[in-house]
Structures are given as C-alpha cells and as structure tokens.
Symmetry: C2
Subunit: 363 residues, 2 copies
C-alpha cells in the first residue's frame, strides 16, 4: 500500500519531528527494563518542563488525548459532585459528556462558538463545585481562553484544563496559573504521532483521588505506582514503549530548540497563516484577542468559493498538493476551515506552500 507524504495542516495530527519518527524504530524494551524506566522518567521530566510544573504525577497516559480527558475526570468526580464546564466548542461539550458518565452533575456554561470562556460566568454558575473544567485551546474553533484568570479565582475547587492544542506551542504555566489537572495529546504542538496523552496532576488533586474510580485502565492510584514508583515499579499495564520513546525524542527536539523559541515559532507560523488568509480575502472566525496561534480558524463566506465548494477545495488541496487542512466540526461544519501550524509543521515554508496552493485553486 503506497502512502502519500502529506503536509499536515489540519487540526492534528501534525507532521512529527524527524527525531520523533526516528525514535519509533529504536530497539524494543520491556516495560520493566531499567533502561526503559530511565527513559520514562526522563520523558516525565521533559513533560514537567513543557507543562511548567513540578507536579510529581506527570506522565503520558497510554492512549490518545481523549483518554487523557477521561482520566482527568473519572479519577476526581462521581455521583454527588458538581462540575462546572466551559463549553465553547466540541471539546468542552465532550467534557460534559465524560463527566455525566461518572454520575456527577455537569453544569454546562454555554458560549457562542468562536468566543473564549467567560470566567465570571463560570464563577456565577456555582460558587464551589468539585471541579471547574475548561479548554485552554479549543481545537474546534481556534480559540484560546484565559486559564490563568480561572485559576486565580477558583477558590478551593479543582481546576482542570484541556491543553491538547496548547502544550508546547502556546504559553501555559500549570503551577503559576493554579491548574490542578491538565492533559494534552502528542500529535499537536509536541510534534509526535498520536497515541499518548501527557497528563499532570497537582499534589492537591492527588489528595482528592477517588480510591476506586470507574475505569481500571485509567486508575491513577494504580498507575502512579508504576510511573512514580521510584526503585520498585508495580506492573499495571504494558506501556506503549515505542510511542514513549518517540515522545521522549520529540520533547528532546523541542527542548533543544527551547520552549520559548518553539512557542515563538508557533506564533509566527500562525500569524503568517492569518495574514495570508486575510490577503486572500478571508475573515478569521475566532474572536479577536483570543485567537490561538497554532490553529487558525477561517470563516468561509457564502459565495466566496463560488461553485467550487469548501469540501472540494480541501479535497483538491489533498489530492493535487498533498496538503491537509481541516473542515469545521458540528455546527460550523461547512462554515469554517481549521488550519494548523503545529509541531514540525509550524514553519514558514509550509505556510507559503499552502497559501500558494490555495491561491492557485481559488484562481
């Protein structure tokens, strides 16, 4: 089966760093091998650096980003608990669904799509819920919300932040912002294949762990004995070795560049997309002041594409140029494009290529 070499400028996965790809092929190790334990520990250290946290319980969950969301919820809330969720796109809505499946009461604070989460409305929804949950970087709308403001005003509640499309590409300071639980995915600004969900949990949140959560696979009480077990690691499940080797290498590439430099590169690439699309006559979907650098959301005006149609433009980009961009999800399907500049993809060369290809197609 022949596979095309795409430029991945959708909402993720991105093109992974060459170092991350190479590490996938490293010799396999057992999950209790001292060499693998050392590599896992160093991977967790690198995650602490990109999360800007000293949380001991920081590690990659053995599944994709949505499993990170589930781990971040089912270990902390259940029947009798209230969770206030900021919903300004698909992923806030998903948090409501996951929370409700635990038996908790989820209060959805609904926002217009394209707008950031309104912190005052979150606080007004409930004065002291078990958890406030919000999406730092909404992948469905390209909006960045103010997690720091939520953290400064959350009181004794836990604060959960979805950082899937921000970690490694956007300012994110878990400790300084009083975030208790944050998760991400590897296939966005970390520049690694999809398959792992980096997670960090504050000591304060660890004290509130549910002793026997509904999920065995995501039970942080048990997993902590493997990932932070010091000399004696208790087997829980077989870690996805190759993916962790790749994450280790991807984080190495990112940190060799420098976290600030990598964030600046994501900002520059996102700015170039937004400027270029404006030059092509498009408007930006996300509210001004809350636009996410690594994921630019573009409004598709009625009639602008004539008889071509937005799906056909995306299809031609893919088939003729090998470039993937994303369509809209849910209520903005057909109305929004999502252009990602994440990880290894976040480079001017790719932006220039995309803009030139789009100009050709649009005529």
């Amino acid at each position: 089966m022949t596979l095309t070499d795409r430029i991945l400028m959708g909402p993720g996965p991105c093109n992974p760093y060459p170092e991350a790809v190479a590490a996938l092929g490293r010799p396999m190790l057992g999950h209790l091998d001292p060499e693998f334990i050392a590599l896992l520990d160093e991977t967790s250290d690198r995650l602490r650096t990109v999360f800007e946290t000293s949380n001991a319980l920081t590690f990659p969950v053995s599944a994709t980003g949505s499993a990170g969301m589930e781990a971040a919820i089912v270990n902390f809330v259940g029947p009798g608990d209230t969770v206030v969720v900021g919903v300004n796109g698909v992923f806030g809505g998903r948090m409501v669904d996951v929370a409700q499946r635990t038996g908790a009461e989820a209060i959805a604070v609904e926002h217009e799509w394209g707008q950031p989460v309104d912190i005052q409305r979150m606080l007004d929804a409930h004065p002291a819920p078990a958890m406030y949950a919000m999406v730092h970087a909404e992948t469905s709308t390209g909006v960045r919300s103010d997690v720091a403001a939520m953290g400064a005003n959350k009181g004794d509640s836990l604060l959960l932040a979805d950082c899937v499309t921000s970690l490694g590409g956007v300012e994110l300071r878990v400790d300084d912002w009083n975030v208790d639980i944050a998760y991400s995915g590897t296939q966005k600004c970390l520049g690694v294949a999809p398959g792992l969900a980096p997670l960090t949990v504050s000591d304060r949140a660890i004290e509130r762990l549910i002793p026997v959560p509904q999920s065995w696979y995501l039970d942080l009480n048990m997993i902590a004995k493997y990932v932070t077990g010091g000399g004696a690691r208790a087997y829980h499940h077989t870690a996805p070795i190759s993916m962790i080797m790749s994450l280790h290498a991807g984080l190495g590439a990112l940190l060799d560049e420098g976290l600030d430099a990598a964030r600046a590169r994501h900002q520059a690439a996102g700015d170039a997309v937004k400027a270029g699309m404006s030059d092509l006559g498009f408007e930006l979907f996300a509210a001004e002041g809350s636009r996410l650098a690594p994921l630019s959301s573009i409004t598709i005006p009625d009639g602008r594409l004539g008889s071509v149609g937005e799906a056909e433009v995306r299809s031609r980009l893919l088939q003729e140029y090998g470039i993937e961009i994303g369509g809209g999800l849910g209520p903005v399907a057909g109305k929004v494009w999502r252009i990602g500049t994440m990880g290894h993809t976040a480079r001017q060369r790719n932006v220039t290529t995309l803009l030139a290809a789009l100009a050709d197609i649009l005529g």
Copy 2:
C-alpha cells in the same frame, strides 16, 4: 540515551517484526484521510483473518491490551448484571476488578494457578449470566484454557475471551467457538509494539451494547461510526496512526508467512524452550495438556539456583546477554519464570541463545 538491543523473551513485549518496525516511520496521515481509512479497513480485514471471524465490528482499540479488556466489559454489563469469570491467574482477576467497577456482580470462579479453567464449574456458578468471561491464554501462568468448550455450552449468555497471548500464535477460532467478544494486544504473538488492543464483537453482542457506557473513550456505539462507517466516517477520537500502520504491516508479515505456519512456528519455539529447560533440570509449571506454546512457565525449585537467586539470574541474563525473561506475578513471584517465544522472537535461534546463556550462568 543509548538503548540496548534486547532479545525479548519475557511475557511481552516481544521483538516486533522488522516490517512492523519499518512501518512506524511511514509518512503521517490524518485520521480522516482516505488513504488512512483504506489502511485501517485493510487492518481490520487482516484482524478478521487472524481472529477467524466475519464480525463486522473488528478493529484495534486505541490503547493497550488492558483497555481492550475494559472495552469488552464496560460496553456490555452494568448494575443488575452478573458476570461469571474464570480466575486462574492475574488476568482473570483483573476481569473481576473491571466488571465490579461497572456495578455488575462478578462471580469469580477461582482455580489453582497453573490449572486451566474448569468449564463445568463456570456453568455451575450461574446458569444464565449476562456474560461468561475467561482467559484463553493466561499470561501469568502459561496456561491455555478450552474456550471452545465454554462456547459450546454457554447458552444465551455472552462469551468474552481474553486472547492477549494467543492471537496469532495459537489456534483461535472466534466464530466456530461461539466467542462473542475477544480482545488481544499487539505486543505478543502479533509481533508489533505495544499500544493497540485488537477487538472483535459478534453481531449478537452488538445487539446487547449498553447505549451509554460509563467510558466515553471506549464507547463502542460511537467508535463503530468511525471504524465501520463506510463512506461517512464520524470523528470520535484521533486514531494512533503510526501504531495502526505498524499493526497493518505486522499482520501483513504474519499473513504472508501464513497463519498456520506462524502458529506452527510458535509451537515449535515453545516446545524447544520446554524441552531445553527440562534438559537443564527445571520442571514446567503449567498443567500438562494445558501448556501454552508461546509462553512457557517454569517452576523454580527451592535451592536449584543456590545462592544466585532467581532475580539475579534474570538480571545477569539482561545485563550480560541482553536477554529478557519474565519473573512471576502475584502469588508465584519468585517461584516461576515466564519465557516468551512470541512474534518475531519465536525462532529457534533465540531459544538456542537463551538456553546457552542460562547454561553458562547456572554453570
């Protein structure tokens, strides 16, 4: 960080097939890219061949084998349901734990470790539970149990079989044996890195799916719309693209060899381990007639290793020879070795190397 090139003869992961390793580095694709959808569909077809099933809902769950177990349970049972579980090792015990977390009543039919599941005792435990669950190949004891006999006598109940250490290496006929739900892991006899859990679900079981199971990530109602959606694939979560490419290639290697030939190779390598260890003076742990080919369990007699100690022998194998074998889990820790000959590792050369190294160490 330098990593050693191990021969992996523990209970998994094995050494992956070279074809599976190479495919990890294939160009990344988006999870909705038509090329990736075609590759996923072909992967599912290959899984049907190794499971010996025509089940439409057959695909790799986006996490490791234990998540396959969780998916296989939480989608089918909950409060008010009874599950009869054959427990003859760690993984039967894990099924009890996972089932109890759904609120179901789990009846554990306990067996002596090293013995196969007694089907009559399963039937005697409850005449018509929602589910009978058993482990085809117990990774903690090296025992194979008679899933076919359970399937022939299960009545209207669902039958769940853990096939983590059997799929691809041992006779397994999902359709002929009336298995309703079976899952596996990629890092055993399939010869691929850990990270995915192949799962197959009968049409009969699909009719009994819980509409909103407690896990969002493992919700088969939603996942089915992506993996079996025909032309219109509904996004659920971002698939672990590189791992699925690797599974596709590993299954290709296995099926190019031929399923029967691969099983025969696993049998021959396991026979060679058992014969060689007997020649070295060890006894086999698993009950005669129920010994699993790809995983040989060896009894460590008191005093046989003198002052060396079993852990030191394993450590010397790892450090001096780069060979990993497995220790015992739970009640047989320190009393049993587990020697795997799975996937690409299942070759005479590796068995010969291990036996010679052990002979050197034991003197």
